[in-house]
């Protein structure tokens, strides 16, 4: 707090000096608009224009692309990772008998472009070199690389979502992550999937910060036929989660999916708030059985930092990788698995409601490097 005062003081003095002097130097007072008078125009000022195209308070539920039947997981991943596969095309193009050294180079380029990161790429490639795979030509390099990648994922074999089926326990799955990664959407899709399995869930609209975040979750709740507990905008998210657990117990729901506001892992206060949410959710009868870090597949090396910091703060138990249907490759999860031992549990591979699927390492690796 003292630091705050001193810093503010210094800033003010410095700025005041500069503002005043530069104003005088230019021979004019620095123009400052009267603070509260915005330039008026017809219809200006009121929050919503009184136009002919006034919309109803809540937008109509958007058209979701219809889920095209039930797809096989592997085919979906492979199909969705089409662009990522193209990265390894030069490697594949070298064919079975291609030059091993060229294959190593092609592999390095592909890994870096897939956001795997310098450190992990170098580690993977040096392991491949140790096996002297290049002697067997491009084919050998590719197979060795596939093995190394699978070995990384094998370190974290358990990818199931933990659910304690005990009486008087309300499981809480907490969704955390930075802004805009798709936390709310992931919860919505997961709620639908659970309902389709015939299990009831309750949604906790713990994002009380972003404007209309609770409304967004409400739309999902209606689609999934799930109950939702929401609080006042700007209210205490811990209170919302607490209420949700209580309500779930009263109604006999054994699972609460708790949304939280997106927050940058660098904002200490917001991370502290997240700790509190976790503590409150863990109170009887609630039990936090999963803390899922939602990561955007388009994120680069910063995802590693996010994973590390959220894990330190609230003990992340698994990763949900979203937006894998874009051109992004999400290779950074290889680094996350390798360096932090955090398993990827779910992947979002499309905008359809059923495009949230369990993560299958073999399909992922095969989709990247396989034939």
């Amino acid at each position: 707090m003292l630091a705050l005062w001193v810093i503010v003081g210094v800033v003010v003095v410095l700025l005041a000096t500069v503002v005043v002097t530069s104003g005088r130097r230019r021979g004019r007072p620095v123009a400052h608009r009267a603070p509260t008078v915005p330039p008026e125009a017809p219809g200006g000022g009121e929050p919503v224009a009184a136009g002919s195209i006034e919309a109803p308070p809540r937008p109509a539920p958007p058209e979701e692309p219809a889920p095209a039947g039930h797809r096989v997981v592997e085919a979906t991943l492979r199909e969705r990772l089409g662009r990522a596969r193209s990265l390894f095309a030069p490697l594949r193009a070298l064919g079975a008998r291609g030059d091993g050294a060229a294959a190593l180079e092609a592999a390095e380029e592909a890994l870096l472009r897939a956001d795997v990161g310098v450190e992990t790429t170098e580690a993977l490639l040096s392991a491949v070199r140790r096996e002297q795979a290049e002697r067997d030509g491009a084919q050998g390099v590719r197979e060795a690389l596939e093995d190394e990648l699978l070995a990384v994922f094998d370190e974290n074999p358990d990818r199931s979502l933990r659910f304690d089926a005990e009486p008087d326990v309300v499981n809480v799955w907490l969704f955390v992550g930075v802004n805009g990664v798709g936390k709310t959407t992931s919860i919505g899709k997961l709620a639908l999937a659970r309902r389709n399995e015939g299990r009831s869930v309750l949604l906790a609209a713990g994002d009380t910060f972003r404007a209309a975040a609770a409304d967004q979750l409400q739309v999902w709740a209606e689609r999934a036929g799930a109950e939702i507990v929401r609080g006042a905008e700007g209210g205490d998210p811990s209170a919302v989660v607490f209420d949700a657990v209580q309500r779930a117990r009263a109604r006999g729901n054994d699972l609460v999916l708790a949304d939280t506001a997106g927050r940058l892992h660098t904002k200490v206060n917001l991370v502290e708030e997240l700790r509190k949410i976790r503590r409150v959710a863990d109170r009887e009868p609630g039990r936090v059985t999963e803390v899922l870090l939602v990561l955007d597949a388009t994120t680069g090396q910063n995802a590693l930092v996010q994973a590390r910091q959220f894990t330190e703060a609230v003990g992340v138990t698994g990763v949900v990788l979203t937006k894998l249907d874009s051109t992004a490759k999400g290779g950074v999860v290889i680094s996350i698995e390798r360096q932090l031992g955090l398993p990827v549990k779910l992947v979002g591979v499309g905008e359809g409601t059923e495009d949230m699927i369990p993560f299958d390492p073999e399909a992922f690796v095969d989709a990247l490097v396989g034939e």
């Binding site: 930075v178 404007a211 905008e233 904002k267 955007d296 994120t299 680069g300 992004a328």
Partner: protein, 499 residues
């Protein structure tokens, strides 16, 4: 932002700077480090390669051997290349002769389009314009609702209609014309670039509304994919520029370096915080300074000139320096500074900020200011002018009145005394590390602002790490989340909203 990248580049620079001679092997090693630093910062592979080659060309063997300070030569080459990679000059916004100037925002899901739309609206209001927001994101549930709420905060009206996004956008522009608005900002749904139907939709929006500016909003944390995304949108929409969002994270912002190089369009705006005011024009040269850890005084000054009330600041700065200031002054100062955006964001612009101070800046919670305000407002005018008269019973009254504890009141009073002492010594020029007197400080600021010159660059690089006023920065007290900050909205004190 860019911290990790700048740290790595500084380390490379530091190693080189001390050398009197740089061999080809030294240079190779340095360039390899730079390449790794760039890749770790998510600079696209091809761009990173090109960057390194360009730096190598700039510091050819002859150039290095001619220079007396070859290390500096390399640092300078990196700096120049950074400016070039980031886009040279800033884009100058012009307005359509027949309003409205239509601005179309596009991007991937979660890039931050809706928030950026509201921030842009606020920014244009600050420029004396009269914008209108059009919510054409009918895909994401409650996206329009979010835009309405943010629009209300920015005091900009929002129009939207359910149904067809293209129709909504066209009707929105019509509405802007009818209402005589001079800027019309269209928020569109997030879309992935390989979804042909959605890409076609945004193309039709663009064709029907003929925007004067089409901006792509990109998350600063984006990895290698940023380039593919930017390229795909550019092919569909012919972009005019890029807006970088979430630059307040510790993302290394490699996307910023890549996009310009590949698409050939500059980064126009950057969003650096959660407040609506945290958006500003992007200046490549200043960003290059920031990456190399040199602060960004020009932006700081501009922000100050735009938002601060000159007379108020000047009056209380004098009093601050003379040590004859009251709690009322302190409050006024806080408000002035708050108008510029979040405190953390401002501190990041200060040159010579050490890593610790920068981290402390992240932890400063603006809601603490509300508590201070509540306490001061609960004092009588006499107490504000002379806090020494606050005794036990007054303390209890003040604590009760402000909803705080007597400890909080005590702490504030103690800090105020400390601050008084500190300011008095600053005013008399006794502060170590600060040039004496107001003019000295001004000269320092100007010198920093002029930047560019090799000497001052070297000076800055070698003198950084020594903050202007660096008590061990520490933010104590119970951290308050955003819940607390928002509570005050409906509650006891309402500081003036950003204008």
């Amino acid at each position: 932002m860019f911290d990790a990248l700048s740290e790595r580049l500084e380390r490379v620079a530091g190693r080189l700077r001390s050398r009197g001679r740089i061999s080809a092997a030294d240079l190779d090693a340095a360039l390899r480090d730079i390449r790794t630093a760039l890749l770790d910062a998510d600079v696209e592979l091809g761009v990173a390669r090109h960057f390194v080659e360009a730096v190598r060309e700039r510091c050819s063997a002859e150039a290095l051997s001619r220079s007396l300070t070859p290390g500096q030569q390399v640092v300078k080459a990196v700096h120049e290349q950074l400016i070039e990679a980031l886009g040279g000059e800033a884009l100058r916004i012009t307005y359509a002769p027949r309003p409205p100037t239509v601005v179309l925002l596009a991007g991937l899901q979660g890039a931050g389009k809706t928030t950026v739309a509201a921030k842009l609206a606020q920014w244009w209001r600050g420029q004396g314009r009269n914008p209108l927001l059009v919510g054409a994101d009918l895909q994401r549930p409650a996206a329009v609702e979010q835009l309405r709420i943010l629009g209300a905060q920015a005091q900009v009206s929002v129009v939207s209609q359910p149904g067809d996004p293209v129709g909504t956008a066209v009707a929105g522009v019509e509405e802007a014309r009818r209402l005589g608005r001079d800027v019309c900002i269209i928020d569109t749904a997030g879309r992935i670039t390989i979804d042909d139907a959605l890409m076609d939709e945004v193309r039709r929006i663009s064709q029907r509304t003929t925007p004067h500016y089409t901006f792509l909003v990109i998350d600063a944390m984006t990895g290698q994919d940023a380039v593919a995304t930017a390229r795909a949108f550019h092919e569909t929409l012919a972009l005019d520029g890029v807006i970088l969002s979430k630059l307040d994270s510790d993302a290394r912002g490699g996307a910023a370096l890549s996009v310009k190089e590949v698409v050939g369009r500059p980064i126009v705006f950057a969003s650096t915080g959660e407040k609506l005011g945290d958006l500003d024009l992007f200046h490549p040269d200043r960003m290059a300074d920031r990456i190399l850890g040199m602060g960004d005084v020009l932006t700081l000054i501009e922000q100050a000139e735009r938002t601060m009330d000159q007379d108020v600041v000047a009056r209380s700065a004098d009093r601050l320096l003379s040590g004859r200031f009251t709690l009322e002054d302190v409050l006024e100062q806080l408000h002035q500074v708050q108008k510029m955006g979040s405190l953390g964001g401002i501190l990041r612009l200060m040159p010579g900020m050490s890593k610790e101070l920068r981290q402390a800046a992240d932890q400063i919670d603006d809601s603490q200011v509300a508590q201070v305000e509540a306490i001061v407002r609960s004092m009588t005018p006499k107490e504000r002018a002379d806090p020494a008269i606050v005794d036990g019973s007054r303390r209890v009254r003040i604590a009760r009145g402000s909803g705080t504890s007597t400890q909080d009141v005590n702490q504030l009073l103690k800090q105020f005394r400390e601050m008084q002492k500190m300011m008095r010594s600053m005013g008399s020029g006794a502060m170590p590390g600060m040039p004496t007197g107001r003019l000295g400080r001004l000269a320092a600021a100007r010198q920093m602002a002029s930047g560019g010159a090799e000497e001052s660059l070297a000076e800055m690089l070698s003198s950084r790490g020594r903050p202007p006023a660096a008590p061990a920065a520490r933010v104590s007290g119970t951290p308050k989340g955003r819940g607390a900050k928002n509570k005050k909205k409906g509650g006891r004190v309402t500081p003036p909203k950003g204008r």
